[in-house]
């Protein structure tokens, strides 16, 4: 894998800078901050596209920030996986920004929630881009912290006691996780004297300090990704946050720590990964699928169902570890498994964001997200119900959708490896997803009850349209995946 120092195009650096500067502008402009959206969102989309084109054409590139060479300087790394996640973040962020402008509209007086959402959202976006582009472990820590703190703020945005309690629980898990990650980074520095990702990969030896560092970082990232058994903070946090915040949290924030974990064990600590540890991660993923799905079957509210579904779908991504990391990295099926996990992350991000946005629109119009209140929604809000249905198609993994492609890649990789246990996990996930997602969907397509309907103002069209656009993107990922696949691999990752 040849790597070149790219000094010509500034796009990757701008993908981090533009949202951060826009966040500052949003703080200053307040109510007039919609102009920031009009500038930052198209810029973000275009920059993500340009970065993907660069990754596709040049292969992995490394940026020396400030001209300083590693190990003293901080480097950014652009490759196919980073470009794919940057694109996912830009698309979801664009839809959420359009949604939030209508959701938090402030007719007369400025409200806290309307004022605070935009800067937090833009900071989150900038932080996520920094995580995906990070080539240095400490920079990665700072970016993960930025993402975590913004996410915690987004959870507590509503200001109710329950939302703040959910944010506090998330905070305790996330802070413990960050602390573990930082301790691992410190141990790695102590053992090898470098924090740059490439140099660490070259210098790492299977010794006690490195093992301890790897274990600590893994546990910390598992806590942030809400993998079973450290998942308890996710359902209340994602269900209690306002709908656009829930979309960002489930679709993007948990992917940041998963992405870091994937990078950790396929690149940075790759030489010392053992089959046992990778199998343990895969088993936890399978347990997450089971636990999340069964818990989702028992929930009475739509947003809680969608939140538990996140736990289950995240578990599916962890099949990348036994099939593509550690000793499996040299096997021929590792590429398919790695691609499957990446596609699962992207398809889930799009579909889950669409589901949360649709649930938010339904909540605005119907007033409650209890399953009983969803009856007949398809008749009254066809766009939102259709968006939720398309999101279900992708989450269950029916063709043609991004979710189907992801499951297909994972199952075929497991079958090629002869690991029928791992092959059963995506299939079981699909069946269970169908079970818990068809409950609310079935309620929606029932006839509304006879009698006077409660009259509430209909949800703005923009809310429903944003959900539909994201759901269509999730389907599109499965219909036309070739370009994405080529970008994923032409960049040289995996």
């Amino acid at each position: 894998m040849t790597a070149s120092i790219a000094t010509v195009t500034p796009w990757p650096v701008l993908t981090i800078l533009v949202p951060l500067v826009a966040a500052l502008a949003a703080v200053v402009l307040g109510r007039r901050g919609t102009v920031v959206d009009f500038v930052a969102i198209p810029a973000g989309l275009v920059l993500a596209l340009l970065t993907a084109i660069q990754a596709r054409g040049q292969g992995p590139s490394f940026y020396r920030l400030g001209g300083w060479e590693a190990p003293l300087g901080v480097q950014l790394r652009v490759d196919g996986l980073a470009a794919a996640f940057l694109g996912l973040t830009a698309i979801v962020a664009a839809a959420v920004a359009a949604y939030a402008a209508a959701y938090f509209r402030q007719p007369r007086a400025e409200t806290r929630i309307g004022y605070v959402f935009r800067p937090l959202f833009l900071l989150l976006w900038g932080g996520l881009n920094a995580v995906f582009l990070a080539g240095d472990l400490f920079n990665l820590y700072v970016a993960l912290e930025l993402v975590t703190l913004c996410a915690i703020g987004l959870v507590a945005l509503g200001g109710e006691a329950r939302a703040i309690a959910a944010a506090l629980r998330y905070m305790l898990f996330a802070l413990a996780g960050s602390f573990a990650f930082l301790t691992g980074a410190v141990l790695l520095y102590g053992a090898h004297g470098v924090l740059d990702a490439r140099l660490t990969a070259a210098a790492v030896q299977p010794q006690a300090a490195t093992w301890a560092a790897g274990a600590l970082m893994t546990v910390g990232l598992i806590a942030k990704t809400a993998l079973f058994p450290l998942h308890a903070w996710l359902p209340p946090a994602h269900a209690r946050a306002p709908a656009p915040a829930s979309a960002l949290l489930s679709a993007l924030v948990v992917k940041a720590s998963f992405y870091t974990l994937l990078r950790l064990w396929t690149e940075v600590l790759g030489p010392i990964g053992t089959g046992g540890l990778m199998t343990a991660l895969g088993l936890l993923g399978a347990a997450a699928v089971l636990y999340g799905s069964i818990a989702a079957l028992r929930q009475p509210r739509l947003k809680l169902i969608i939140a538990y579904s996140t736990i289950a779908q995240l578990g599916l991504m962890f099949l990348a570890f036994p099939l593509a990391a550690g000793p499996a990295a040299a096997q021929p099926w590792s590429e398919a498994a790695w691609s499957g996990a990446a596609f699962q992350a992207m398809a889930h991000g799009l579909a889950k964001a669409a589901a949360f946005l649709a649930a938010g629109a339904i909540l605005v119009q119907v007033g409650s997200d209890d399953l009983a209140a969803l009856r007949g929604v398809a008749r009254r809000m066809p766009i939102s119900a259709f968006a939720f249905g398309l999101a279900t198609v992708s989450l269950v993994g029916l063709p043609p959708s991004g979710g189907f492609l992801a499951k297909y890649l994972l199952v075929s990789a497991a079958a090629e490896a002869g690991a029928w246990g791992w092959a059963a996990v995506p299939l079981a996930a699909g069946l269970l997803s169908a079970a818990y997602l068809l409950r609310p969907l079935g309620q929606m397509i029932l006839e509304p009850e006879a009698g006077p309907q409660p009259t509430r103002s209909p949800a703005p069209f923009r809310l429903q349209a944003a959900a539909l656009v994201l759901a269509l993107c999730a389907i599109l990922l499965g219909v036309a995946p070739l370009e994405v696949y080529r970008t994923l691999h032409a960049g040289g990752g995996g």
Partner: protein, 106 residues
């Protein structure tokens, strides 16, 4: 008497242990936040001890930069946690323990 870096490393480890115990087992929220800070400080002491090199080269500046960054991050996180605690208190909610935090409907 052991060398200074080893002594600082051991002290830092002891602080981390104390802080983690507080984070996990303290009865009130404020004490958990304090425990987090103590553990963070311990980690920074360890990081400082890692920066020791022979006298001719002088101390390694990279851990010092990492410590400064870590202090800022820990400060921000502490401020956020305390803001939540104050807000909950202002609303009349007991936030002494996680058990008394308002629960979600299940």
């Amino acid at each position: 008497m052991t060398e200074a870096p080893a002594l600082f490393g051991l002290l830092g480890s002891a602080l981390v242990a104390l802080g983690l115990y507080g984070l996990a087992a303290a009865p009130t929220l404020i004490r958990r936040i304090v425990g987090f800070n103590v553990a963070g400080s311990g980690l920074f002491v360890i990081l400082g001890a890692l920066g020791a090199r022979d006298a001719a080269a002088g101390p390694d500046p990279v851990p010092q930069a990492l410590i400064i960054t870590g202090v800022v991050v820990a400060l921000s996180a502490t401020a956020l946690a305390l803001a939540f605690a104050v807000r909950l208190a202002a609303m009349g909610q007991r936030a002494d323990t996680l058990e008394t935090l308002p629960e979600d409907d299940r």
